[in-house]
Each structure stands twice: as structure tokens, then as C-alpha cells.
């Protein structure tokens, strides 16, 4: 698999975008990017070129040049790529993307790029809304359906090719796409139906718009079960597997809401930690009576004389 990995995340930090190739020997879910260790970078795109200039093109040669040798597939590398649009976050608004692009790029050309963008995006989001038009719906469409509002966060939805380029933007209203994956087709029975070259530039405003919106979020797309366990451990919350399962879905649903904030450019906005302008509230440096010891200790679950018994933190078996 080849994926435009972490673009949004990296772009938000001014890091270059990357194309990552998956090691096919490692089994992984289609569309899943959670196996970074087995991925290989095949192309790095400087953030500025990749994202800011929407007309930039990445030529097949460029990708070809960077890709690892010994590909068993004889087709040109770029031809075997397809664009996957992953609508992982369901509730951020696609039309905002459109509006942003329109506002930024002016009328005529913007509209065109909007449409291109919008179709790809709408398509992915459309799948999230059960607008199934793929040829291989079974696995991925089913996975996509999970991302319907109220579901447990999204997974991959596929862009299947030119015959679908006329998807309605409307289907995606109220939805948006968080990442664009360029996927290497591996099934010879299903050759890519799109053009031979893949126009990186035209596709890019999606990434730009979405990236802006989602930048900080990119990695959190879909908290995995192990992420949930890790956070629970950090928070010192012991929970049953069933509780963790439930939380994973619910947290992802709530995190979806957060994505909305990325719509706002807040670079020049100072944070508000508190709302009333009080400064340097100091008290007089005086000795005042404090609670009697018995009152302070009264609530301690384990006491010994005038002490609270704390659990041992040193000298355990393994220390």
C-alpha cells in the first residue's frame, strides 16, 4: 500500500508530506495507517510545495524515482495508484472546505478545483452516508458504514475511479474528509480506472483544506483500542474490556466534534485561560489557624497514629 501519510498532521507542523509504501508482506487492514513500522517512505514532499501551491504536480516519475526497487507488479507505479478518501471524522462540514477554496482561489479556476476536490471528497463522505457505489463494497463499504454519525468512527472509503466523479457534493454535506490516501492497487483483476498519471496538484486542495482543519488531529483519527487502554492507564482508571470497548467508540465520536475547531485560524489569537482580568492575587504572609490534625486525618481510609498510610511506592518485587 502507498499512502500519503500524516500529511495533515505534518503540514500543521510545517513538516513535509510523505508518501509511504507499505510492506505487503505484513498483513494489515486496507486503508489502515497504523502500521508505520512496516511502512517505507517512497516520496517526501516539502510542505510548501506539496500543500501551499495547489497547482504543484507530482509526476509519476518522481514517485517512480523514489520508490523501492523490486516491485513484482509490472504496471507503471503511478498507474497502480488509486486515491482513497478516508472520511474518518464525520461531523465537520465539507461545504466549509468548498467555501474556503472558493474564497481563496477566486471564481473560475477555483470552481473547477473545487469540483474536482469536492467529488473526491464527497465520494468518500458519501460512502460514510451509505452511498455505496464501489465495485468492491463488501469489506470497505461495511467499514465505512461504521463512520456514520452515531457509529464508532470511520474507516476507509474508496474512490473508485472516473465513472464516479460525478458524485453529488450534497451527499457529503455536513461531512468531511480528513485524509487522502494514495493507495497502491494490488489486485490485477481490478486495474485502476482513473487516468494514468495522478494529478497531485488538483487533488491537493482537499488535503490542504482538510489538513488545515484537522492538522492537529491527524494522528488521533480513530483512537485505537490500545490508545484507549494507554490513556486509561495514564488516567489511572481501571476498566473492564467491555467498558474500554464502549469508550473507544464513544471517545472517537466525541473527538470527531473536536475537528471542527481546526476550521478556525487561531495563529494570531491569544489563549484565554480565565475570563476575568485579575492579576497577582496574593494573600498576606501570615500564620493562620489550620484544621486540627484529627479533622484532617478523619477521612483517610488507612491511618496509623497521626499518619496516613500510603501504598508503598518503592521496594516492590520487581524493583
Amino acid at each position: 500500500m502507498v499512502a500519503l501519510e500524516k500529511v495533515a498532521h505534518r503540514v500543521a507542523r510545517g513538516l513535509p508530506g510523505r508518501l509511504v509504501a507499505e510492506d505487503h508482506r505484513v498483513p494489515a487492514e486496507p486503508g489502515e495507517l497504523g502500521h508505520c513500522r512496516h511502512d517505507e517512505v517512497v516520496l517526501e514532499l516539502p510542505a510548501s510545495a506539496a500543500v501551499e501551491r495547489s497547482r504543484d504536480q507530482v509526476t509519476p516519475d518522481e514517485i517512480e524515482g523514489c520508490r523501492p526497487a523490486a516491485d513484482p507488479d509490472s504496471r507503471p507505479f503511478a498507474e497502480a495508484l488509486e486515491i482513497l478518501v478516508v472520511a474518518d471524522w464525520v461531523l465537520v462540514v465539507l461545504r466549509e472546505v468548498v467555501r474556503e477554496i472558493e474564497a481563496k482561489a477566486g471564481q473560475g479556476s477555483a470552481r473547477e478545483s473545487t469540483i474536482v476536490v469536492g467529488q473526491a471528497v464527497a465520494h468518500g463522505a458519501g460512502r460514510q452516508l451509505h452511498v455505496r457505489r464501489g465495485r468492491r463494497p463488501e469489506r470497505q463499504a461495511a467499514a465505512g458504514a461504521e463512520g456514520v454519525p452515531g457509529g464508532s468512527g470511520g474507516r476507509a472509503a474508496r474512490e473508485t475511479g472516473s465513472q464516479d466523479r460525478h458524485a453529488h457534493l450534497g451527499t457529503a454535506d455536513g461531512h468531511f474528509v480528513d485524509r487522502l490516501i494514495i493507495r497502491r492497487r494490488t489486485c490485477p483483476d481490478h486495474p485502476p480506472s482513473g487516468g494514468t498519471a495522478w494529478d497531485f496538484g488538483r487533488g491537493h486542495p482537499v488535503v490542504t483544506g482538510a489538513a488545515r482543519r484537522l492538522g492537529y488531529h491527524r494522528q488521533m483519527a480513530g483512537l485505537s483500542r490500545s490508545d484507549v487502554e494507554h490513556v486509561a492507564y495514564l488516567a489511572r482508571l481501571g476498566m473492564s474490556p467491555a467498558e474500554l470497548d464502549r469508550l473507544q467508540g464513544q471517545l472517537n465520536q466525541i473527538l470527531d466534534q473536536y475537528a471542527k475547531l481546526a476550521e478556525l485560524d487561531t495563529d494570531a489569537i491569544p489563549p484565554t485561560a480565565q475570563t476575568i482580568e485579575l492579576e497577582n492575587i496574593l494573600r498576606d504572609d501570615l500564620v493562620t489557624p489550620s484544621l486540627p490534625q484529627t479533622a484532617v486525618l478523619a477521612n483517610a481510609p488507612l491511618r496509623e497514629g497521626a499518619f496516613i498510610v500510603v501504598p508503598p511506592i518503592l521496594g516492590g518485587d520487581g524493583d
Binding site: Q219, M220, V231, G238, T272, A300, I308
Partner: protein, 531 residues
């Protein structure tokens, strides 16, 4: 005079006490009787402190008797809350009493000292009837997240009273007390006030000291009053507001004594409206609002205009971002605040034989906290974790600036107060939002931007929709509580003749039935039906 003392407003009770027509003991007994009788059906109270309340009532009567002997000046100097029963949300520390915050993790905990507001209320001679039910750690909009069971709404026992201060709101609506206190972090006073058909105010951040209150989200939490009218709520706010050195966020801003002297006559109150400018924020009327609720709000606006106020369309463009901002900031602060519940110094504790201390924490907190609290701690921990702090917390704090600026700009343009719905819907049925956290969070969509901006907001009854109360929210600039109460009082004057005004909650007769289902049973039945 009325035979049923519980039907009086607090200011009427105060007048009756001064006139010697009743005693604090009689008032307290009357309220205790209703609260004890109906708590089976409502579950509004976690503790009804009969003994303590009567002791305070007797002391109040003794002081009243002294004052009466000293003459009319001494009698007038007595605070209007003297001898009046008050309910306290069970996250307010009263020395020696329980303070569960609706959580199992604080079961058995006894508060070692009085909260600042409790000291203040003791000083004016108020009577503490007991501690009211609430969503665990004030996290919730329905009171269904209480570890001690849900609360029924006195208007329909199958519906929620709102939350998190659901017990305080239900108790006032059902005439168990004329006054109660709650806390409001994202709407936890205003939303239950709306759903129960009473008055509830969230004061300006910094107006009331939080010393002795269980903390949820420290940059948002504020304490405020519930009452059945504006005058009573204003008097209660007056009693608790003001600077306290032990809460460094409490502001040294004078508390106006006019809070005790809102117009008694409706006409006088209404005349205040003339020339006032209200703003109608259009963003509060877009998403998912019950059309009938919107109708009540629009009718209320028409009332205000008829009385000589102008109402203008205004925009608070970042309203839509409030929910996401709030659900980053509040859980982040909560995860830090709730880290203190470690089972070592106080509260529920689980020590496992031979296990390490982290296992003890995991067990203590895993068993002690309920589902919603865990959800928020998880969200907050995640939002503050390495690599996400800037992306989430700082980003949200920046958006918070934008939300606050929206309000600042509207008020700077000369708008006196904003008029908005308090809740997008009337009281909803038990269980209807329990499995969908986001839909529950949306219940506070109209209230939480006010907390984000630190502003005062009040919810007042403005009619019924399908027999359930609708709340009108007024939002003012910082420290404008008096103005909001004047506006609320004016609205009371305007609607004095309305058929819904002074209507009793419709399910009180059912609540009197000691053999009827409890809220827990009602919720279970509804859940079974839903399945």
C-alpha cells in the same frame, strides 16, 4: 394568609416571619414534610437533615424573637433569608456532613469544614434542609449520571429535571424548598431551571467564592441560585456573592444591595424595560431546536418589544465552536481536578494485597467513578497528553478567546442583554440520551458559550411546550447580575397574567404517592420499553 407555607415565595416567608405570622420552625417543618413525602418519587435529595434543619430553625426563631424585643430597626436589619429553608447541591461542603458530589468515590466522606457560601448562609440565618442529588461531579445534563439514581422532573415523572443540578432544581420546583444552590460549569444551573420551570442564575465567573466546593472545571465553575422568582434568586445571590480570600478567583467587585430591592410591583418592574436594547443571537436559533421552544422564545421577545424594549438581531459567529471548545477545556480541567481522588487521603479506597500502588489507583478510581466521569477524564487526559496539548487544549483556549470576543463586541455595541433559549428542548425522557454522549452534550449548546466567556446568565420560565416548561435565557456583560434580575423581574411583570404563570408542576400529585415507582424504576421501565 395561605395555609400551605410551602406555596409562599421566600420573600413572602421573610415578611411573614417578621410579622410574627409564622416561625422558621413552622416553615421548616412544612418543607421537611413535603420533601420527605415526595423524595421517594423524585429522589431530589441525597440527605434530608431533619434534625439539623430544625436546630437551625429554632436558632433562627430565637434570634427573631430577640430582634423583635429590640424593636423594629433590629427586625428590619435581619436578612431576608433568615429562617428560610435552603437546599444545597451535594458538592457544597457543610462541616461534618456528607459531600458525595454524586459519586461513589466520595461515599462516606465527611466535609471537614464549611464552604465559604455555607458560612455566609449561616451568618444570615438560613436553614439547610439537606443536600440535593446531582450528576456525578456535576458532569451531565440530565441528572442520570448520579451514582445515587436519577431525579424525576416534577412536571412529568418520566422525564429528567436536567442537570447537573437536577436535585436542586426539582426540589425548588416541587416546593420542597423555596431556594437552593447549584453550580454551573456549562449550563448546570440554567438548563435544569429551564426544564423544571423555575429561575436559575449562573453569575459572572469570580462573583461567588468556590472555597469548599468540589471542583469540576476550575476556569468555568460558578455557584448560583435557584428560586421560583427573580426576587428570591437575587436575594440568595446577594447572600453568597463577594470576595473571599480563600478563592483567589473570587473578584473584589462590589455586590449591589439593590439585589435585595427588586421592584415589588410588576408595573414598576416593566417600566424598566423602556429603552433597553436586547440582542437576539441568530446562531442560537439554528441547529436542532424544538420548534415549539423557539415559538415560546419568539413570543417572549414580542412581549419585551411591546413593553418598549428594542430587540435586535445580532451575531455571535463562533457559537458553533462552543461545544467542541467546551468539551476540550472542561474535561481537561476535570482530569486534573479529579486526579486528587487517589484513595489514599480520603474517599473510597481499594488496596489490593501484594499489588503495586498503581494497581490500587486503577482499582480505586475504576470502581469509584461512573461512566460519564471516566469518559471525561479520558478525554481530558488525552487532550492534555504529550503531543496533543497544543493541538487540543491551547487551540481550544484560543477559540475560547474568539467566543468571548463575540460577546464583548455585542455588548460594546450597546446591547444591554442577549435573549436566547436556555435549552434547545423541554425535559426529555429518561434514557433518551444516555447511550449517545454527543446528543447529551448538545443539551448545553445554548448555555456553555456563556461559561466559556465567564458571563452571567439567567434562565427564567417563559411558558410551556406540550405541558413542559420552557426557559428563556438572558445573558449580560460581566458583573451585570443586577441588570439581569431587573430584566427577569420585568418579564415576570409582563407575563403576570399568563395562564402558565404560577402553574404548579403537573406531576406533584403523583409524586405524593409513596407506593409509586421511584425514578430508578421509571428509568428501568422506559429502558425496557425502548428495547
Amino acid at each position: 394568609m395561605t395555609t400551605d407555607l410551602t406555596r409562599l415565595r421566600a420573600h413572602e416567608m421573610a415578611a411573614a416571619l417578621r410579622a410574627g405570622e409564622t416561625s422558621s420552625r413552622a416553615l421548616t417543618e412544612a418543607h421537611l414534610a413535603v420533601a420527605e413525602r415526595q423524595n421517594h418519587a423524585l429522589n431530589a435529595w441525597l440527605v434530608i437533615d431533619r434534625q439539623g434543619a430544625l436546630r437551625q430553625a429554632d436558632a433562627a426563631d430565637a434570634r427573631l424573637a430577640n430582634a423583635r424585643r429590640e424593636g423594629s430597626a433590629a427586625l428590619t436589619a435581619i436578612h431576608p433569608l433568615h429562617g428560610i429553608p435552603v437546599g444545597l447541591k451535594d458538592l457544597i461542603s457543610v462541616e461534618g456532613g456528607q459531600c458525595t458530589a454524586g459519586s461513589r468515590i466520595l461515599e462516606g466522606y465527611r466535609a471537614p469544614y464549611d464552604a465559604h457560601i455555607v458560612e455566609r448562609l449561616r451568618a444570615v440565618g438560613a436553614v439547610f434542609l439537606g443536600k440535593t442529588n446531582m450528576d456525578e461531579f456535576a458532569m451531565g445534563s440530565s441528572n442520570e449520571f448520579s451514582a445515587y439514581g436519577p431525579v424525576s422532573n416534577p412536571w412529568d415523572l418520566d422525564t429528567v429535571p436536567g442537570g447537573s443540578s437536577g436535585g436542586s432544581a426539582a426540589a425548588v420546583a416541587a416546593h420542597h424548598v423555596p431556594l437552593s444552590l447549584g453550580t454551573d460549569t456549562g449550563g448546570s444551573i440554567r438548563q435544569p431551571a429551564a426544564l423544571c420551570g423555575i429561575v436559575g442564575m449562573k453569575p459572572t465567573y469570580g462573583r461567588v467564592s468556590r472555597y469548599g466546593i468540589v471542583a469540576f472545571a476550575s476556569s468555568l465553575d460558578q455557584i448560583g441560585p435557584f428560586a421560583r422568582d427573580a426576587r428570591d434568586a437575587a436575594a440568595l445571590l446577594h447572600a453568597i456573592a463577594g470576595r473571599d480570600a480563600r478563592d483567589s478567583t473570587s473578584a473584589p467587585v462590589p455586590v449591589p444591595d439593590e439585589l435585595l430591592h427588586l421592584p415589588t410591583s410588576g408595573d414598576e418592574a416593566v417600566s424598566w424595560l423602556s429603552g433597553k436594547r436586547f440582542g437576539l443571537p441568530r446562531e442560537y436559533f439554528v441547529t436542532g431546536m424544538d420548534p415549539d421552544v423557539e415559538r415560546r422564545i419568539r413570543e417572549s421577545v414580542a412581549f419585551l418589544e411591546d413593553a418598549g424594549a428594542t430587540v435586535e438581531d445580532v451575531s455571535l459567529p463562533h457559537t458553533d465552536y462552543g461545544l467542541a471548545t467546551y468539551y476540550i477545556v472542561a474535561p481537561a480541567e476535570a482530569s486534573a481536578n479529579l486526579a486528587r481522588y487517589d484513595g489514599v487521603r480520603y474517599g473510597r479506597s481499594k488496596r489490593l494485597e501484594g499489588a503495586d500502588f498503581i494497581a490500587d489507583y486503577l482499582a480505586t478510581r475504576g470502581e469509584g467513578f461512573g461512566a460519564e466521569v471516566k469518559r471525561r477524564i479520558m478525554l481530558g487526559t488525552y487532550a492534555l497528553s504529550a503531543g496533543y496539548y497544543d493541538a487540543f487544549y491551547v487551540k481550544a483556549q484560543k477559540v475560547r478567546t474568539l467566543i468571548k470576543r463575540d460577546f464583548d463586541q455585542v455588548f460594546a455595541a450597546g446591547i444591554d442583554a442577549l435573549v436566547a433559549p436556555t435549552s434547545p428542548s423541554v425535559a426529555f425522557r429518561f434514557g433518551s440520551k444516555m447511550s449517545d454522549p454527543v446528543s447529551m452534550y448538545l443539551a448545553d449548546a445554548c448555555t456553555l458559550p456563556v461559561n466559556m466567556a465567564g458571563l452571567p446568565g439567567i434562565s427564567i420560565p417563559c411558558g410551556l411546550s406540550e405541558g413542559l416548561p420552557v426557559g428563556l435565557q438572558l445573558i449580560g456583560p460581566a458583573w451585570s447580575e443586577l441588570m439581569l434580575f431587573r430584566a427577569a423581574r420585568a418579564f415576570e411583570g409582563l407575563t403576570a397574567g399568563a395562564p402558565w404563570r404560577d402553574l404548579e408542576p403537573t406531576a406533584l400529585a403523583d409524586a405524593d404517592d409513596p407506593t409509586g415507582p421511584t425514578p430508578v424504576e421509571r428509568a428501568a421501565t422506559l429502558a425496557a420499553v425502548a428495547r
